[in-house]
Each structure stands twice: as structure tokens, then as C-alpha cells.
Assembly symmetry: C2
Homo-oligomer: 243 residues x 2
Amino acid sequence: MNKLTVVGIGPGNYENMTVRADEALKNCQVIVGYNVYVDLVKERYADKEFVTTPMTQETKRCQMALELAANGKTVAVVCSGDSGIYGMAALLYELRGDATAPEIEIIPGITAACSGAALLGAPLTHDFAVISLSDRLTDWTVIEKRLVSAAMADFSIVLYNPVSKGRPEHLRRACDILLRYLPEKRICGIAQHIGRDGENAKILSLMELKDAEADMFCTVFIGNSKTECIGSNMITPRGYRDV
Amino acid sequence: MNKLTVVGIGPGNYENMTVRADEALKNCQVIVGYNVYVDLVKERYADKEFVTTPMTQETKRCQMALELAANGKTVAVVCSGDSGIYGMAALLYELRGDATAPEIEIIPGITAACSGAALLGAPLTHDFAVISLSDRLTDWTVIEKRLVSAAMADFSIVLYNPVSKGRPEHLRRACDILLRYLPEKRICGIAQHIGRDGENAKILSLMELKDAEADMFCTVFIGNSKTECIGSNMITPRGYRDV
């Protein structure tokens, strides 16, 4: 078939996968991915061939996927969340370059901004910015500039990769920057292990967020100036009630 | 059951719905929504009761849904794309207020940022901002400030509601603002009728975008400084190739 699909599997559980993602994994011959993501789908699609690489081996992983497809296999590259947002879709196009084979199809998935927001309530009903705190591929000065701009323009903000073992202080550093522009009481939220064992959500102030425990399985939400706490939920109104 | 689910149905076709959204629509008694969105699901869930209201009747629609649930019906409120992003989830929580019944469950869906990006290639692999150009509920000065901030901080930008019958000039106005900060050749994309009849995607420069035909079924993407055209795709690299 000489075809490669890039499949956003959503947060990790079958229920949050799209029908289309499920079909693509059922119909492929080889599933390629970061080993943690492949583990999420291994049981359901147990008859497939699996090719995994550890983190930081993205280029090698995508090259292997393209080679398998070039050799006639139907290949699905799995990404957690969406296939595009901080996912592998771009890198596969980059590596294929000006060639037109293998055919590449991008299948979108539920990204953590959406699945995490749903756990917390509705923090993203108005304009928002998505920023990764990982400086492995991006200068921290760029990240800092984006944090400041988003805060000053009153975007709600979603932080991906807020901390990791190698960057334990990044969320705290980001909060210190945001606290120069935003009030200590600004409503924030953390969604952790979305769609997986241990799933939980917590609402807290920006000041509390600075010292909050977080790990690489967390997605962080910072409200805009209108975000409020209603019951146990983080809500950013769009303004329908004011019409 | 006294339960209300807010269901993001994705762009509109069954294939891009999640398993969970499908289950919620199968298991509910009443489907409530804007008539255009209800039409997208009417055939597949034909045995349900349907309650629809036209656009700009969001508060009335959500009040009806809460009343139906309070009267013991299992209700699903459908939103196109995600249930939270410019969707009805927040308004339902706002209207329920401090009450704890009916129970509200938010089911995320594929938002147009993800489904439109997948059609164009992979324009959102790095940090991005999502901005609605509708000034029905938001002052244009706020929209303008966010456009400027996002451009100056080199975010990729996704524009929702780029034009409508009542706002035919908004995309042009936004492009004029962006052109003060971004080069004319900045790579942009338009995704139209995503997941529906007439689905199409187009890549063009920011200068061309200014005069492009667009309607309320379009989602617009503006690349960041690293966005490139590879083959017929709009690609924003994350930087994996540079490691």
C-alpha cells in the first residue's frame, strides 16, 4: 500500500480515540512510536508489528517509519494527543522532503489542551495560547517572550511539558515570569494522567501553582482575567450571559 | 438519570468523533444544539428527541438543556469541534451556578485547530495562539491586541470565525494588522468545510490571505517565522532535525 498514517491517539484511553484513529490502527501492519505511547495501544492492536524508540530519538523513529512504508508496509506512527501539536507529523513531512511517496495521511487526535480542559471544567472558552516549557529544542528566551506576550494580551495559557526530570524548575520559572504581570490569585489548573490510571485535576491560584507538585504527565492551565471558579470547576466565560 | 453531557462532535463527520462522544449520543434521550450542528448528527442518532435553537440563542439553548436534565432526561448538548473551545461547556456551568445538579460531564472533541491543521500538513508543531475574529462578544480592541502580541512573539496563529455575513471585512482587517509586523510572504493556510462535503485546504501568503475568499466555514492558519512549504503542505518544524 506504501502508505503512512500519523495517528493522534488522544490522551491514551480507547474512549477518547476517534473512530478514524481506531480504523487506521486496525488497518495498518506496523505501529511505530515512542515506547510509552505504543504501550498505550499494544493490547488493543496486539496482532500488529511494533517498532519503538525511546524519547529524543524522534528523527530515527520517523526515518524508520518512512523506510518501512517505502518497503511496502502500511505504517501508523502513533502520537499521544494530536498528531500535529508537538507531534511527529511535521518531522515526517520534513524527512520525506520533495518526494511524494510514501503517501502521508494526518489523523488528528484530542490534544491535552482539550482533554485537560474538559477535566477542569471549561477554561478555554476564549482566546488562548499554547506554550511548551521544554527548552530542549527552543531557547528559553523565546519561551519567556511568549509567556510575557500571552499574559499581557490576556490570553488563557496552556503549558505543555511543564516539568521533567531534567527540567524540574521550569514551571516555577514560568510562574515567576507570569507573576510579574498577573495577580497572585489568578485561577489556574493542573490536569494529570488524563485518560489514564490516576487521572486527576486540581484548581489553584497562580501563587500556589508556583510551588505545586507537577511532573511530565501534567498539563497546566492559567486563566485569563475573567476566569472564575464555579463550584469545583475552572470556567472562562465567553460573555454569552452579558448579551 | 439527571445528567447532562456536553459533547464535542469534532468537525462533523462520524470518523472524526471519539468513541466516547458516540457513546454519549447513543445513550442520551435528548440531543440539544444549534440547528446546523444537530443536522450533522440527526441521521445517525435518529431515535432521539431533538431540541434546536438558532445562532445567538446560546443562553436559551443551555437553559432548555439544563431544564430537560432537571426534569429527569439524559441530555447531550452537541458542539461542533470541541465542547470547550468557543463551545457551550462554560455557559452550562455558569447557568448551573453553585448547584450540583444536574451532573455535567464534558466530552472533548477534535477542534478545528487540529482538524484543519491535519488537512494543511502540520502548521502547529510549535507554540501557537488561537484567536476568534468575532466581535459579537469581544471588543475589537481586545482582538487587535491579541493579534499584535501573537505576531510579535512569533506564535503560529489560528483564526476562528474569520468572517461571517455580518463581518465580511474581519479577515482583511486582521491581515492588515498582522502585515505591520509580519512579512508579506509569511506562509498561511485556509481549511474549509473540514470533515464535510466540499472539504478543501489552500496554502497562500499573508498578502494573498488578505484578499482571499473565506466564509464562516473556514479556519485560518498563519505560520510562524520558521513555517515552510514542503511539497503541497504547510509545515512548522519543531527543530528535531537540528539536534
